[in-house]
Symmetry: C2
DNA sequence: TATTGTTATACTCTATAACTATA
DNA sequence: TATAGTTATAGAGTATAACAATA
């Protein structure tokens, strides 16, 4: 029924590793670590109302998030401001420099991805990326 | 130019996690851990002439491989026999029970994967898995 | 001397639990 | 008392280095 030889998990794992290896130097050239990039990306569509919520969206423990936020805040790439309504909460938001750095990183990553997929014919590539995102989105909630 | 919203790396990482979460109970029901399954799978197409070579194919340090081999050998799922030509080498091979356990695990995993992909139309699914394997294979060598 | 496998050690990453400040 | 954030500690996972056996 299926012509697969490899487990899906094995293929996904290999490709994850390959993407990390390819992205690391791109991000490093902008002084950004892998997890820092993940955090910046998570804030692109809007500020996070609490750090706990941000930790959940990046699928990381809230305690592990703190050093990352410290570093990014120290470089002025994001801000942590107490929520006036409930001063226990800290709303995390990109600063303008943060948004610029994120845009530069994203552009570099996308260029690498385009090159990585270049050997795949356009029609198949479009189907592949569409299905990939559909499946990935299904795992979110 | 591309309609992607998510980075490929983010999608691959999510799906890797989802597959691990889905496979773990399937393997545990057969008393097999994730890395044990990876090792057994690597031996399916033939014995490994040395442990170092096996470690390389599963992309793991040779030192970390040892406890895994110890456990699998202890359960009689694989054998480590000194190579007569060079007695420093140990050739690692599946035993018959090992092959049976692997087959059972593989069947369970494939069933899970088929279900996971069931929502994708057959034509797109075939393209997706084909491209996925092509890309994954490219990362090996 | 060089190499395979092993063991031992150190390091990193991650998770759990205690602490503070607000509510 | 309960919760958000922080800090501190412990545990698992990983990598590096030393050791024994064989070549």
């Amino acid at each position: 029924m299926t012509g697969r030889r490899q487990d899906l998990g094995a293929s996904f794992a290999r490709l994850t590793r390959a993407m990390i290896d390819a992205e690391t130097p791109i991000l490093a050239a902008r002084g950004v670590g892998m997890w820092e990039y993940v955090v910046l990306s998570a804030l692109e569509d809007g500020a996070a109302p609490t750090q706990a919520e941000l930790a959940a969206t990046v699928r990381r423990d809230k305690t592990r998030l703190i050093p990352i936020l410290d570093a990014l805040e120290g470089r002025g790439l994001l801000s942590r401001t107490p929520d006036p309504a409930d001063r226990r909460n800290r709303v995390v938001a990109l600063t303008e420099p943060g948004r610029a750095v994120l845009a530069a990183c994203r552009a570099g990553v996308r260029a690498m991805e385009d090159e990585f997929l270049a050997a795949v014919p356009a029609a198949e590539r479009r189907i592949f990326t569409t299905v990939l995102e559909q499946l990935a989105d299904r795992t979110s909630r």
